[in-house]
């Protein structure tokens, strides 16, 4: 057995969807080229951008940082990073430390923002309350708000997240199966909001399968936090993920075809289904909101904070 590209007999990966067999060097190069292709095709970066990487220290965000850094080295963009410390004992600190070390290694501006400092409560403390709405609900909303605020404070023009092919396909299938056409119109490689205060979000890893990102960080010997969030549970997303992975065993291209199919109907979906939100301000924090209170503040009020 030898590498389909260079003939090296030391192969590390069999790409089921294309039949390619790759050695370490050709595998790493293939991932980096694919991400750069997505960035160009979807016009994710503009010269002079300051990109804020949402850096958890996990494999997806570290890969995003690593590949975007090649644009920084060529002086096309500048990069900064933010890490959100949700306050999850025996889990988050390891990721925060790894994120900090990557930022130091690359010499980029990095900020760690904790839920405790910003909102006066940790996720662990929220989960001890009775009638909480589930960890992921709070975590998602607070994290999004913190990252948006950090982008404005750090003068970022784009926010890059580590969403991979599996994440995107799960989102497409979940929203479709739940009949959530509104959310279905919002997916994509680049999401822009009409409110100026919301920085444009980009997903450079959107066409890379999760497993290939895991292999990429191991092959490149990048330090990452491989661990499971203690609050991870069998969610609907998890069920969709299991179904898609099961289908992919017999149909290796199915995740790509799901994404392509969505891309084909996306414009029609947007034209027909996209809601035009009234853009007001949250009366409590002043962040853009279509309601009197933004989601984060409505949770804070419910929590008596």
């Amino acid at each position: 057995m030898q590498c389909s590209k260079c003939g090296n007999p030391k192969v590390i990966y069999k790409r089921e969807q294309s039949g390619q067999i790759l050695c370490k060097e050709c595998f790493i190069e293939s991932i980096e080229k694919k991400v750069i292709k997505t960035i160009k095709k979807e016009k994710l970066l503009d010269k002079g951008d300051k990109v804020l990487v949402a850096l958890s220290g996990g494999k997806d965000s570290v890969t995003t940082l690593e590949i975007l850094n090649s644009f920084r080295k060529r002086h096309i963009i500048d990069i900064c990073a933010v890490t959100v410390d949700e306050g999850i004992a025996n889990y988050r600190q390891a990721g925060v430390d790894i994120a900090t070390r990557h930022a130091e290694r690359l010499g980029i501006e990095h900020k760690v923002v904790s839920l405790k400092e910003d909102y006066g409560i940790t996720l662990d403390e929220i989960m001890q309350r009775e009638n909480h709405k589930g960890s992921c609900t709070y975590c998602g909303v607070f994290r999004r708000t913190i990252i948006n605020k950090a982008a404005r404070e750090m003068g970022a023009t784009k926010i890059a997240t580590g969403h991979n092919l599996d994440d995107e396909v799960q989102a497409i299938m979940m929203n479709y199966l739940e009949g959530n056409t509104d959310n279905l119109t919002k997916l994509g490689a680049k999401t822009e909001s009409k409110a100026d205060e919301f920085t444009v979000k980009i997903k450079p890893l959107r066409e890379i399968p999760e497993r290939e990102i895991g292999l990429y960080v191991v092959a490149k010997e990048l330090e990452v936090h491989f661990d499971s969030c203690p609050y991870a549970m069998q969610s609907f997303r998890g069920e969709i993920s299991d179904v898609m992975n099961q289908l992919a065993e017999k149909h290796p291209t199915i995740k790509y075809s799901t994404l392509r199919g969505y891309e084909k109907i996306k414009k029609i979906l947007k034209d027909e289904m996209q809601k035009d939100y009234a853009h007001g301000r949250c009366k409590r924090c002043g962040e853009p909101s279509s309601n009197e209170l933004c989601k984060a503040c409505s949770f804070l009020e419910e929590l008596g904070l």
Partner: protein
């Protein structure tokens, strides 16, 4: 005929049951999905079809976690 298995906290000598015993066979035996793991043979990344040899050090790294 044996190999050293390293996986999370596990570090143990295991017998090689037959001469064409692959990393895929080991993963199946341990009920681990190849989709969530990468494997190293004597410190170098390899594919799951790799046959385990006498004296090998096989390290398994979980790269995908739920949630």
């Amino acid at each position: 005929m044996s190999f050293l298995l390293k996986y999370k906290q596990i570090e143990e000598e295991r017998e090689i049951p037959d001469e064409n015993y692959t990393i895929k066979d080991l993963l199946d035996e341990m009920e681990l999905s190849p989709q969530t793991m990468v494997s190293k043979q004597n410190g170098e990344l390899v594919i799951e079809d790799t046959v385990i040899e006498d004296g090998d050090e096989i390290q398994l790294v979980q790269i995908i976690y739920g949630g």
